[in-house]
């Protein structure tokens, strides 16, 4: 397979493929002569993965490279997932000290309840605290009453997530499935949640009208 075919197969323009090659998102093709190369299904597959991470996952080029490098090294699934989670760089919002402390306390309490262990260097903890802080800054503190409920549901979702990667044949498959599941999983669940919200909203307020 040559460049033009790879482009046609994947739907990615030639110039863009060259850009991804330069950026290290796509391994170079197999050389057939000093300035010619050949590509295969693996390249098509990788290209689809890159587009999914970019378009669906909303990652930047630099983050995609980090994730892919993590898959490549694949010495420990936890490390790969750690890299992936870091690459997703959820939230980074500034919040004042008291709000931050409030949010951290809240999270610690819920985590204890669920048996989660929070390591302070975990960027996900930062994200969660930042998001909780943003809620608080907007006056939505009644969230507290529901947080434990969300945490319990998150546990159930995570169990389903794990079921999806358990029992896969090869370890590289496991790693890649975990990455895909992590990145695309958010987008999928968010969409399902919207549909469910619409349904719930329509049944709760069948024809809630204009002003009170």
């Amino acid at each position: 397979m040559r460049m033009a075919e790879l482009s046609a197969e994947s739907g990615v323009p030639v110039a863009t493929i060259k850009y991804y090659l330069r950026e290290g998102l796509l391994p170079p093709g197999e050389r057939t002569s000093p300035n010619q190369a050949r590509y295969d299904r693996e390249h098509v597959r990788r290209l689809k993965l890159v587009r999914a991470l970019l378009d669906v996952g909303g990652l930047s080029i630099a983050r995609v490279r980090e994730v892919l490098d993590g898959i490549e090294e694949h010495d420990d699934i936890h490390k790969v997932l750690g890299t992936t989670q870091r690459a997703l760089e959820l939230t980074r919002i500034a919040v004042d000290e008291p709000t931050r402390d409030w949010a951290m306390d809240l999270l610690v309490k819920v985590a204890e309840e669920r048996g989660w262990q929070l390591r302070p260097d975990n960027p996900v903890v930062e994200s969660a605290v930042g998001t909780l802080g943003a809620f608080a800054a907007l006056g939505r503190t009644e969230l507290v009453e529901r947080l434990a409920g969300y945490a319990e549901l998150a546990d159930q979702v995570a169990t389903l997530d794990l079921a999806g990667v358990r029992g896969l044949p090869e370890r590289e498959t496991v790693v890649e499935a975990a990455v895909v599941g992590t990145v695309l999983g958010d987008a999928l669940f968010a969409a399902l949640r919207r549909l469910a919200q619409e349904h719930a909203s329509a049944t709760t307020w069948p024809t809630l009208p204009g002003r009170p």
Copy 2:
């Protein structure tokens, strides 16, 4: 309150506030003379909302404007939520016809199971189909077996979401709470899901090592 104080209060630079004013993300202050204006707590609050939508929600300036305009008009909570969901513009990925059909069939089946009604002009449906298509393109079709499970959990999450906005005093509060909940809720649940995944992963593969 004048510009400098508004900036100090919100942590947003003066130049940026002016930019938001130009872009219509922040209503103009109350005129005290032809070229002076005064701002109040509402402006601080709005500014925090804007930053949350930008930083946590990851919306673009243009999308934030759409959402805010939706809140302003607030004639029907469903319309506001519709605008918000459109503004979140989840996924937009190209997928070939057969894959698309497969994904749509799958989604329709699950929606019927749950009593959700899918209107074809709903952009969320587009998102869901695109994401499912991306999974399929990457060979992760075993997702099918778990989709109904995710949908059920999405229903439960949505029920919790609704509980958070029900019983709020004023209707503008309801609308704003719904918007905040929709945008920040994704970020929060994604973070919780990560923490839960780490927990589940650590207990499933306590010390899963290098290569097989």
